[in-house]
Subunit: 203 residues, 2 copies
DNA sequence: CCATGTGAATGCGTTCACAGCC
DNA sequence: GGCTGTGAACGCATTCACATGG
């Protein structure tokens, strides 16, 4: 059953959120279509990429389906994460309570300002930036939230890559240059607004 | 020249960020390939969707290229935006300085807690949630940053749609149900981490 | 000669249509 | 009857290959 296509992965991830919020114990592909806009064909094809008995003829058991997605996509294993750049956004994430429930553990924060590292109150250990390589390697941190300004984003990304990071969520408006074995997800609010703008009907 | 394919729009948006940061006045498609990972073929095809004389034989003038993208995607016109939900994230965006430079004006903030609306310090006018419809219609607000908890995201989205909003950036882990003429962009940090997880080599 | 631009070929994801099952 | 699952058809985006221009 080969590799799962990228768009399918993306939909399956969103589907788990739908399953969490739908409040039902069984759903059919048509119900999902009605709520998400994806055709029931697409949804069934997506689900057929998963393994296991998921349907008993009509409808999918919500719990099993959710579990199957999480297991197929490798979401079950806990992942160690760090926050790089402790400005307004970065320090917000240090205190954000939503990570644990999905198995993500923020275990370190980094900032180039030693002063800030010492002053900030935080539930996770903070380090000056020059310790990034050592700490990431030592704790086997896999993922990073990159919250530094655009001007220093590439430099920080280079350090993360050198330390063996596997994936980066990039909050800076910069297009990062990383090797093929490192995945980057760009999350910049203004770019999302621009993406919306680009889809508005032009008059 | 026909409609621009979705993936091309996405790349062109990221390309402008690259152009802003590359520090050169002329770039070739191969240079872009080396930095972004997209093939030079793809990039030239993308650029061919734009209109105007962009190349003089070798390389693109960075400024003209950036301008052409912005104009073709309709990014030049200023857009009115609002923030819905003034918790930690929402109030951070009220004070975020990066919107203006790209022509986005945050002109209203909404929260269901009247108390919070009265107490919060903010550079933009705040309103209680029940005024959403009226204010959005009156000021012709086109885009919304939806920063409410997952549990109330759909309800808030319904109100936005009823008020005539054109696009929503959804920060809640909820899959929103909106009519086809409204675009939604989902931006949830934990989902980005999950997307990275799903792409890590499974052992 | 190197870089752009573009019709043609390829490949991949979506859509279709129907067989199988409860 | 309604729903799932899947091979086959389709369509669109990427890739290729080459003609064009400085």
């Amino acid at each position: 059953m080969g590799v799962i296509p990228e768009p399918t992965i993306e939909r399956l991830l969103l589907l788990t959120r739908f399953l969490e919020n739908c409040g039902k114990t069984v759903v059919t592909s048509s119900e999902i279509e009605a709520r998400t806009g994806w055709s029931s064909n697409t949804i069934r094809k997506d689900i057929s990429c998963l393994s296991g008995e998921l349907s008993s003829g009509n409808g999918y058991a919500v719990d099993s389906l959710k579990a199957a997605i999480e297991s197929s996509l490798g979401l079950k294993e806990p992942r160690k994460c760090c926050v790089v750049g402790l400005g307004r956004l970065g320090s917000a994430y240090l205190n954000f309570p939503g990570f644990e429930a999905d198995g993500f553990n923020i275990i370190a924060g980094f900032d180039s300002s030693v002063n800030r590292v010492e002053i900030l109150q935080s539930p996770v250990t903070l380090y000056p930036a020059f310790k990034m390589g050592e700490v990431i390697t030592r704790f086997k941190i896999e993922l990073a939230l990159l919250c530094v300004p655009a001007a220093t984003a590439q430099i920080a990304a280079d350090k993360l890559v050198a330390a063996g990071i596997k994936g980066i969520v990039n909050f800076a408006p910069a297009s990062l240059h990383v090797p093929a074995n490192v995945t980057v997800r760009n999350v910049y609010v203004v770019d999302e607004l621009r993406a919306l703008s680009a889809r508005l009907p032009k008059e």
